[in-house]
Symmetry: D2
């Protein structure tokens, strides 16, 4: 029996609060879990700054990756039990792709770093490219495990994650509107945040999932389960992933890293303290090992140093991030966005550097899922429902609810600014009071508004 097909003498389980148990049946999977690249994911939070709002959500990418593996395993089991390929091209499931699918599921996020979205924004890294590199570079333990399966196996697994693998069923298991990745993170994030709207009936969805020639479809009588999943996903985006306070903490993080980078580029960094593990990124010369040394704790350790920096802005932003002092925000629209330059002037008058203490942001910027972004021209695969007679119907032609979400979703755009503008500390100078008073007139019901025409024209 080859390494590729070697089953463990007895299946191993990992206790998991979301799926109850994660079942590991292949030596390859166990070996991948034990690599240092995979263990590193324990030190990277799945939801980044969201745990500062939903305090239970401190779970890591490690637990999510195990979960995606487990969901994929269950899909393969169901497919093999009920819809095995009998002759090539019949649309059934070809179980020879099982290990490929399982490895791709387990490793799909292996290239993530700490606070990926923000980190990538400042340092121009790319977690998808790094994922591929971890799989295919001979320097990694992950690659060594995969190569033992076969010399081409690392590339094959990478091609699933890159959606170039020829078997559309394998690709859609990992990347589609209803894939193992999304199913796990919705359930997991709901569990750890303690929100109920993120739950849906995964057992039923797995049950109505079925392979066909061009990918994966869902039995028509499972339409409501699929619909419920879509609604749950929508609600998690609205209430958790797009939470304005979480976005404001990301703004602070972004500006903090930007400030540190700027100081370094200008030669103004603190001599007494060297952030060794970040230097390769400041210098734009990093290799895979440098990247794999990073985790959440490395960044916060540097923030602890920076909180005592002589640079006031660096110190203050590090304090705001570590000690959770979010910015405030207000929604703006096309009509009210012209007010922002004036508001920035007011904020500057109150003594803030507006480059570091204000921002605009819309929820599209968040990289969780491109499904809701109308600007994405090639959306993910559609969700297909299968009638008893085999014909397919696209979900939104059947479900009014899904149709409602699809066409109309618009997210929100927010202007972020220091909390002090609305609720000054007692030790703020009195002379700023008129500035604060004017500022307040522009905010109502958490939105920017054009103030009533009182006397603000005389500014």
């Amino acid at each position: 029996m080859s390494y590729a097909t070697a089953r463990l003498p007895r299946e191993k389980v990992f206790r998991d609060p979301v799926h109850n148990y994660i079942y590991v049946q292949h030596q390859v999977i166990l070996d991948l879990i034990n690599t240092r690249e995979f263990q590193r994911l324990r030190r990277i939070k799945q939801l980044g700054t969201a745990s500062l709002i939903f305090h239970g959500a401190e779970h890591s990418r490690f637990t999510h990756s195990l979960g995606v593996y487990e969901v994929t395993r269950q899909i393969c089991d169901n497919f093999q039990r009920n819809y095995p390929m009998e002759i090539p091209g019949d649309g059934g499931w070809d179980d020879r792709y099982r290990l490929t699918a399982l490895c791709a599921a387990l490793l799909h996020d292996i290239g993530h770093g700490p606070y990926s979205h923000t980190f990538e924004h400042i340092f121009h890294t790319d977690h998808e490219a790094i994922t591929a590199e971890i799989l295919t570079s001979p320097t990694t333990e992950v690659n060594q495990v995969l190569r033992r399966v076969s010399p081409t196996f690392p590339e094959e697994v990478a091609s699933v994650i890159q959606k170039t693998h020829p078997n559309p069923q394998v690709v859609q298991m990992i990347s589609s509107q209803i894939d193992a990745d999304r199913m796990d993170y919705l359930l997991r994030d709901a569990y750890f945040t303690g929100t109920e709207y993120g739950t849906f009936d995964i057992t039923r969805i797995l049950r109505v999932m079925r392979p066909y020639k061009d990918g994966i479809a869902f039995a028509m009588n499972g339409m409501h389960a699929v619909e419920d999943y879509i609604i749950s996903r929508f609600q998690m985006y609205q209430q958790v992933y797009f939470h304005p306070v979480s976005r404001s903490m990301e703004v602070i993080l972004d500006h903090l890293l930007a400030r540190a980078n700027e100081l370094y580029q200008n030669g103004n960094e603190d001599e007494s303290f060297v952030p060794h593990l970040l230097l390769p990124f400041f210098n734009h010369k990093f290799d895979l090992k440098d990247y794999l040394n990073l985790d959440d704790g490395v960044l916060t350790t540097y923030f602890i140093h920076w909180r005592d920096s002589d640079d006031e802005i660096l110190a203050d932003l590090a304090h705001r991030f570590l000690d959770r002092k979010p910015l405030k925000s207000a929604i703006f629209s096309e009509e009210t966005q012209d007010l922002i330059p004036h508001l920035r002037e007011l904020i500057a008058s109150a003594g803030f550097n507006i480059d570091y203490y204000t921002a605009t942001d819309n929820s599209y910027d968040l990289p969780y899922d491109d499904a809701y972004d109308p600007r994405v021209t090639h959306p993910l695969t559609q969700i297909e429902l299968q009638e008893p007679d085999g014909s397919l119907r696209e979900l939104s032609t059947v479900s009014d609810l899904v149709n409602a979400i699809r066409g109309k979703f618009s997210g929100d755009q927010r202007f972020f600014f220091p909390k002090e503008m609305l609720s000054p500390d007692s030790h703020d100078p009195e002379l700023f009071q008129p500035i604060y008073d004017e500022f307040k007139q522009y905010i109502q019901n958490n939105q920017l508004i054009q103030p009533k025409e009182t006397d603000h024209h005389d500014h």
Copy 2:
């Protein structure tokens, strides 16, 4: 209205997966949560190394502290609604102590540092003393908030945590066999590990709790709920807190910090990398600020550096901790403990430094709860049940189950050793094979045994 009694205009909630919501009603509590000392608890895991075994258990001391606060709040509400003091000394609840109780609940763990038990073992810190210092030192934000209530309030809150407060009801809320602390951590750890045995019916326990002159008792008709709590606690200790792999990871951590300390004391530390934030502890000269700069991420950041150290032992132990390579262990008894020196010799022959690669440990060493330790002479307060006519009966005189646990529990003692002794890597030298073969004869059913008298005498 004074700061002490100031209620928030509208109560604030924190979404919590264990208690659903945490309700904050006092400005003082909100201000304490926003201090930097309290926010730091987000960066310290509640269960330390246990998350390496129960991967869901990545929750922090921050979430636990909020939970203890919430349970205490519910106890106060119940007491005030049903058993308010009417005349002093009647055994009823005096609601003037509510804020004291709430603050003590919230802050009872504020002095914890990263991996407290191990850290304290190596660096001789004391989280209880530090808790008191955080409350009473004018340098902390926590103290500043508490002092706004009254000049003596910091000391009063500290005295509850130190069990010297004159009101026994307040003390027992926070520290007794069934207190808000234990109730929260059992439920929370069960939730995040995904184990069910840790759950019990907290609503019912809160309902049957009642104040009396000397503390807190439980209605006799709630006996089974109390019993169930005791059993759940027992099972969590057996299965989670005393888990042998978790203990083995603590052994590695302990030896890793010891090695680093030793290298430093001997002047052998790595010149190119200075663990700034640990220096005060290596030098035995640290102040509160130094302590409050520490968190889990600081330690693991140093471990990442040390993993590349020139000192082989330091590098290897850091690798084993970061990349989760636990030691193996076997139970030993009074009869078999004499085998250990010979086993250590074998391990040394196989090339391991036995000071850093072996250990013995018994589960009593774990500092979670002194209730099960027969060596503790003054155990926690007994659990008293109250009959309808007001008379009290101690729980174990009523419950056979509790009695069974109380008298007989004995824990286990384990000998820890490198996994390589049982399952050598393919690249281990062949000449070690006879050593491994002999070693294996001493282990059966996870226990040390005296091998059958075969030919091992001829070694």
Copy 3:
């Protein structure tokens, strides 16, 4: 202290799987629960025939009534704690109405009989009128309890249920789009059916509920919780309450009672067995006592007798109901409804009495909730959201999802027919085979269709 305000010396609880505990604090409530009219509700299933599809859903109207009481109690507590009336007319909650609200909540379904909808259809009873009669007739124990509060109290409670009470907050607690009744039954039915789509975050909804001058509104920041409730309700209707097999069992029940009634009216009833407790209804002369003697078990006891009746149709329908032999159904549309007369002919040719073995039904006929029925011209009160500045906005102007449901929902219409038409028993006469073959051509994907132009024109 009067009976009206008498609190129990210690609150009593009922263990409830949905709300954990039901808290009873008034002697009046405890006395009402102990009346024979209320205890009778234990013998009437909440969901009627739905338990034949969702086997867990065997819960009674008794448990639901306790649940509605408990939700109402929690609403009153929240209102009194946070929004008490300070001066009359200020829109705050007037806690003098608490007992009225609690009694109305507890008793709102007291007039229900076994399989109410169907029973009313055949025997022209009216559970709402009977509810009012139970409250106000001096013959009932319920009335005796209510009268002890005050002579006008029975009428006052009845007026809440009839929505004529002057306080709109009290009325909307019990009857509105989001009332205690609906919140309890959705959660309870979801719990007992084991479906997850019916759950929503009741704690959060109760938290964002607030009284105002014209009734009850919801804080704008609770919009998503309200939205989630609406979606959950929609999904429960789609998947549980409108389940086609459940509707088919109601068709059988309806036809069974109709047949028994017809036989009685024609003097053809079985002489050897008299359904004593139904006679008053056959005779159109029943009083309240007769009505209160009925329950599910009385009907099924008669069905057991009828299953052995000499009347073949009565016996067969009783068998189909007791032994769960549902009819089949297919969806029809305006285009395909003209096919039904021909299908009925085919069914008659196969030997079935089409009056008793076919039916058409649309889901609007189900009396659960008028919110989805476009034919209802005066729907329930709108759901109002309250902005921070106090202004109100109707929910569907804010939520795309709710808007989607509101405008487009269309339900389905089904034609019911014997299962034998699609899957004949082995002992069906062979000569019917051509009939069955033709019939099948009219059904595809569970819908009526115009068959392809084969040779069916020559019928």
Copy 4:
């Protein structure tokens, strides 16, 4: 493919709140579920009078039977996947017994009637004998389905239920200390009562279960899961099954049926109303069809008639049962049981017929499980734990908790009497007051006591 092995073209599921889904894969199982004998179980409550105390527990024997089937199916799957028989006698699982096991699981309770324990006490029926008869009598639909498998199959299935089947693994799946029956009812009763102490980790127990030559054992590393199950079972008995109010309602039921029987035997029954379906039982001449016509609703329908009987005792007991007026009870001991005759005298003096209004009962009388009854000489099979090397150890030699339950459990004995003795109605005659006053002196803390030597000797 034979009927015996015929798998459904696509597996069917039943939504179940306890196991999420019940999976049906064989045509035989589906046909058995659709028999009238099995459907009848929908009309018989699983917990009888306990639903009068735990109002959620209205579930039927139908749902429990499906659950036992599902647990058995999962055990078979696990055994076949991990421990298949390879050569006869190797202790592995022989999957040819799967259908036998599944049918026995589904049908093990098919002979139960309404309120079985009490009914059997009065009418001398025997649900176990009737179960065997239903399986083997050619008059039943169940038998017809089983016979299609093979002529000897009905007897084979019956032999599993009667524990005479030669394969001990099959027998122990259905009847042992940890069998599918007990596992389902504990989880199900916990779910529907809403109590948490009944839950345990069934997934883990199923995982550590393994077949061996003489039956079924459990892996040593699953010891705590098994222990937790035993404790949960213990707590369910203590808190639900032995609940004193539930037992008091059974006393009333017992006396009610006894009274009706007595009146009939004496020719005193009500002429105007004939309880047709009970006559065969009054006459001691019933056949299987008579028995299968009974259900809970039949009995309560007769109680509704009897509530209006001219016989005061019959009418009153029917009222107490239907309208839930439990007796009170007090615990007695060997020392205090001699007080009972005097208490009965007092009760008689207050106007009660002591044959119908008092009773003694101990919890051993309850037929749920013989495991706790020290008088049972041949207890159920022991629970065996399996060490890694294959050796077996009996559970109580390993678990202190289990040992504690085994040796010491003693249950309680109670004396039941009318509530009026302790809390007289306002319309009770005043002259009884001294009787009540004396009676009360014998009860303290819910126990019989010898009153203090006051003046009661002068009665």
